[in-house]
């Protein structure tokens, strides 16, 4: 274990989930694994937070869900991106790009 910070940046968890699910329907662990892999281990999602976030997104109408068989023949809850979720993702992505660009510029200017 390293003592590097693997917490997801505050407020970006929703965006990461929406983005991940936008590729294909996925279950909870699938989402966590994908976020970890793609971020090369920078972000690790705690299952409690993840499942809470999934419930929240579902209630917001951005995710749909259904129970299906996994390849291991295990029942799992698969999440899909809804139309509203897609819109939300676009909005959050644009917002993120704007903010991170600004932060990067600030950091560079200081250096």
């Amino acid at each position: 274990m390293t003592d590097e910070n693997t917490d997801v940046i505050q407020g970006t968890l929703d965006m990461l989930i929406l983005k991940t699910v936008s590729l294909e329907p996925m279950h909870g662990f699938g989402i966590a694994r994908r976020v970890e892999q793609v971020s090369r281990g920078v972000f690790k999602i705690n299952p409690g937070s993840l499942l809470t976030a999934l419930q929240r997104l579902e209630r917001a109408g951005w995710l749909g869900s259904e129970w299906r068989q996994t390849e291991n023949a295990r029942r799992a809850k698969y999440y899909t991106l809804t139309r509203a979720g897609k819109k939300q993702l676009e909005q959050e992505t644009a917002d993120w790009a704007r903010r991170s660009g600004a932060v990067t510029r600030l950091l560079k200017a200081e250096a």
């Binding site: 499942l51 419930q55 579902e58 109408g61 029942r75 799992a76």
Partner: protein
């Protein structure tokens, strides 16, 4: 949109709590399985993989808890869980729950019942069209500050013609009259109204038509009930004739069933817009008015003020100091009932407060018992609010139980209230439970719950875990604060009950005064017949006099009858007259302040029949005929006020009853109380029936009997009908009339006594509760003292002394309160003052005895504590 979805998800989860739980558990489990499987793929053993996942992601249980706690519905189910817990607690402590529920039910039920009356009488709109725009005209004499809801004819016409803010004004007059139908005669409330009456109330007849001022012959409207009772149906009544005072009147229309204004009128006869009486000092009429749309009572009054001033300038003699007022109809109808209702409301509020104190008390005792539970909750880290919540929820549940029981109690209470209501209580028929009352009751119940729980809840929240665990009240190591608080509550309870007891004592003493007051006549064994012999022409009146003389003679011969006489102006009766008079040969008279007296017209033998003592001179006799010189008999007060020490016999007196002829005083009789036993005996002027025939056709026949008065009813009725079957008759007894005249006082006295009794019961419970609890807490200490040889009587005395001290503190506080509140009831008292030492003393003694009685059982129990057992406990 998202809010709806969240609501929907939450509700679904609430409805299927098991499914959600399974789904979340399943999802979490699947997550961990997949995670472990992924590790195993990298060649780690199954056991190792599971441990690695736990290290990385925390335990499955924690994840499940976290996922599970999402959503608003969790707060709801937590609330319901607490509620269920509270309900289980209440079910377990059955004695506590029952006592608290009954206590609250008493307080809440009494409030619901009285509020029902207040709502129906004072708050509900009057059952007329545009009730907010209806007004009654009143006349006020500003120099003496007296207001009467009457006007004189000419003043009324001036208001009708000049006041622009009043859309229509109607004059009316009336009372109970004999009405002759084709085959019989009946007594009914008859009102003479002008054609504007229907405009003021915006009446629509259900059959026939309204009347106009230019009726060719006399016409009347009748109520639906009257039409149905006497003619079969509204349609059948149209065009039929009825006779009032020998005049044929045609029924022109029928008014809808609900309308009976004023009082219980069933027949409205038209009279001219130009009133008969042209005097500006004879208040012969009442008047109702409707405000113009948009006009307020304030603008109407401003206009009436300037009109009154113009009239004062135009008629300086008659209208001196006279002011015309527009009073809202609702206020005019219910104004008199307001003080009584407010007194009752104040009383039931005190009852509710006492009930609250009792519940606080019970709660506190319970919270002492559950200090350890609280301490454990605290030690486990529950917040202030979490510690308070179970107490508040229990209170709420109790209040709901109390509310339900209170409403069950209020239903018969309201019925009893209506049955007991004095005749003068306005709108008594309209009293009923409704949604407002239920809402009010629910409201006060919640309020009660909050009041009763706030103290115990705060104490619960303050519990210090470490202290509470150490403390053990059963070892005599209770906290001082708790005992002081409980004692304070008992003192408050006793003080409030004392106030109620004093009020009850004062009202009961008023009743005693009223029932034992010397009326100036004997009310026992006296049959009263209301007799209305129709007359119209001068000849009719002569005939009526002759017929009544014949009737008196006939009735005199009935076995069991001692004396018979007739009178217009019977004490406690519906008819009567009064006014100013002039006397010659007596004391000098101030022309602006003429002497005043009650005017009665009586037959010979009236004083003897009534038991009014003849002090000087003679009674009327057969020589006092219409053609002989007029005579009068005066009461002692009249003699004193007009003649002082001079002998009034033979002096001259004049009054404006029907003629201004001078009458010779031939006798002086004792004073009587005319309107009610509450009234002071005052000046009266009696005139013989034979000389005032216009006041001698609608009279009371009074019979002094040797047997039960009402047993003679049938034979008396038959004898009168023999002489003239068209005489309308109604029977009652003097006792009943006297009783009716004090129903308001009795109503108050009975209700307040009932409430005081309830208060006493609650206070007794409170004292008993405290003492029993104290004894239970001190069992160990008392056992120890007894083991060291303490005397039983010492123990008992200690406990009684404690109760007596509390009662005395409460009585002292109550005394201060009673003296402060006394003036509120002063107006309702007769013959007793609010500071009456007998009432105060009786209340004090009663409370002291109650407190001691309540403490006796716990005290006795304390003296029977077995020292060995007490010490061996635990």
């Amino acid at each position: 949109m998202a809010g709806w979805r969240s609501l929907f998800h939450g509700l679904r989860n609430l409805l299927q709590p098991g499914k959600r739980q399974r789904d979340v558990a399943d999802e979490v489990e699947q997550y961990y399985e997949e995670a472990a499987a992924a590790l195993r793929e990298r060649g780690i053993s199954a056991e190792e993989a599971r441990r690695a996942v736990r290290v990385e992601s925390g335990t499955m249980l924690a994840a499940r808890e976290q996922a599970h706690s999402y959503g608003w519905e969790n707060a709801v189910s937590a609330f319901f869980a607490d509620l269920r817990f509270a309900a289980r607690q209440l079910a377990k402590h059955r004695a506590f729950t029952l006592t608290a529920t009954l206590t609250l039910a008493l307080g809440i039920g009494a409030n619901a019942a009285i509020f029902t009356a207040i709502d129906s009488i004072l708050l509900a709109p009057l059952p007329y069209n545009n009730p907010d725009r209806l007004a009654v005209l009143a006349t006020r004499y500003s120099h003496i500050g007296e207001t009467m809801q009457r006007v004189t004819g000419p003043d009324g016409v001036d208001v009708r013609e000049q006041a622009k803010s009043l859309e229509s004004v109607s004059l009316y007059t009336g009372g109970e009259e004999g009405v002759q139908l084709r085959d019989r005669a009946t007594y009914t409330e008859v009102t003479w109204v002008d054609e504007n009456f229907a405009r003021v109330f915006q009446l629509q007849p259900i059959a026939g038509r309204l009347f106009t001022d230019t009726e060719s012959h006399r016409a009347a409207l009748v109520s639906e009930q009257f039409a149905r009772d006497n003619f079969g149906s509204a349609q059948a009544a149209l065009g039929q004739a009825l006779h009032i005072e020998s005049e044929a009147i045609e029924i022109a229309g029928v008014l809808p069933g609900a309308f009976h204004y004023p009082r219980k009128t069933e027949v409205w006869e038209v009279f001219s817009l130009q009133p008969e009486s042209k005097s500006r000092t004879a208040f012969n009429y009442r008047a109702v008015a409707m405000l113009r749309n948009g006009a307020s009572f304030k603008t109407a009054q401003t206009e009436l003020d300037s009109l009154s001033q113009r009239l004062q300038a135009a008629y300086p003699e008659d209208n001196r100091n006279k002011q015309i007022l527009a009073v809202p109809l609702a206020e005019a109808l219910t104004g008199n009932a307001r003080p009584t209702l407010m007194l009752l409301w104040g009383t039931v509020c005190i009852i509710l407060l006492i009930a609250c104190v009792n519940v606080i008390h019970l709660q506190l005792v319970r919270s002492m018992e559950r200090q350890r539970e609280m301490a454990i909750r605290k030690a486990l880290g529950s917040s202030r609010w979490q510690a308070m919540r179970p107490v508040i929820l229990e209170s709420l549940l109790l209040a709901m139980l109390g509310c339900a029981a209170g409403i069950l109690l209020a239903v018969p209470a309201v019925r009893m209230l209506v049955a007991m209501a004095p005749k003068e209580l306005p709108r008594a028929g309209e009293i009923h439970l409704n949604g407002w009352v239920l809402a009010f009751t629910a409201g006060i119940s919640v309020l009660t719950a909050l009041i009763a729980s706030i103290l115990p809840a705060m104490r619960a929240a303050k519990v210090n875990a470490a202290d509470a665990m150490k403390q053990d009240a059963s070892r005599g190591m209770g906290r001082k604060g708790a005992a002081t608080l409980r004692d304070g509550l008992v003192v408050a309870e006793v003080a409030a009950t004392f106030v109620l007891a004093v009020a009850a004592a004062l009202l009961l003493r008023t009743m005693t005064t009223l029932t034992t007051n010397d009326l100036g006549f004997a009310a026992r064994q006296m049959l009263v017949v209301d007799a209305d012999n129709p007359a119209h022409t001068e000849d009719d009146y002569r005939t009526v006099l002759r017929q009544f003389d014949e009737i008196f003679a006939k009735l005199q011969t009935i076995p069991g009858v001692e004396h018979v006489a007739g009178v217009m102006g019977l004490p406690m009766g519906p008819y009567g007259s009064n006014g100013n008079y002039t006397a010659r040969g007596g004391l000098p008279v101030d022309p602006h302040n003429k002497p005043w007296a009650i005017f009665s017209v009586a037959s010979a033998g009236y004083f003897q029949t009534m038991g009014i003592t003849l002090k000087r001179g003679r009674d009327f006799n057969a020589q006092d005929t219409y053609d002989n010189p007029p005579v009068a008999v005066i009461s002692e007060s009249t003699a004193k006020q007009s003649f002082g020490g001079i002998d009034p016999i033979g002096k001259q007196i004049q009054c404006g009853l029907d003629s201004d002829k001078w009458m010779t005083v031939v006798g002086v009789v004792g004073d009587i109380r005319q309107d009610s036993p509450a009234e002071k005996p005052g000046p009266a002027l009696y005139m013989p029936m034979a000389q005032h025939p216009h006041y001698a056709n609608q009279i009371h026949i009074v019979l002094r009997t040797k047997v039960k008065p009402l047993t003679l009813m049938n034979i008396v009725q038959a004898r009168i009908a023999q002489t003239n079957p068209r005489i309308a008759m109604r029977f009652t007894t003097m006792d009943a009339l006297v009783n009716e005249s004090i129903t308001t006082e009795r109503f108050r006295a009975v209700l307040i006594s009932l409430f005081a009794g309830a208060g006493l019961l609650l206070a007794m419970l409170g004292v008993y509760g405290t003492m029993a609890y104290t004894v239970a807490q001190r069992t160990f200490e008392i056992g120890l003292r007894m083991a060291f040889g303490a005397n039983r009587s010492v123990i008992l005395r200690g406990i009684l002394r404690h109760a007596a001290t509390l009662a005395c503190c409460g009585i002292a506080a109550g005394l201060v309160l009673s003296l402060a509140l006394g003036r509120l009831v002063a107006a309702m008292l007769v013959g007793v003052r609010p500071t009456d030492p007998v009432s105060l003393g009786a209340a004090a003694l009663l409370l002291l005895l109650t407190a001691l009685a309540a403490a006796t059982a716990p005290g006795w129990k304390a003296t029977h504590i077995d020292p060995l057992k007490a010490l061996r406990t635990e």
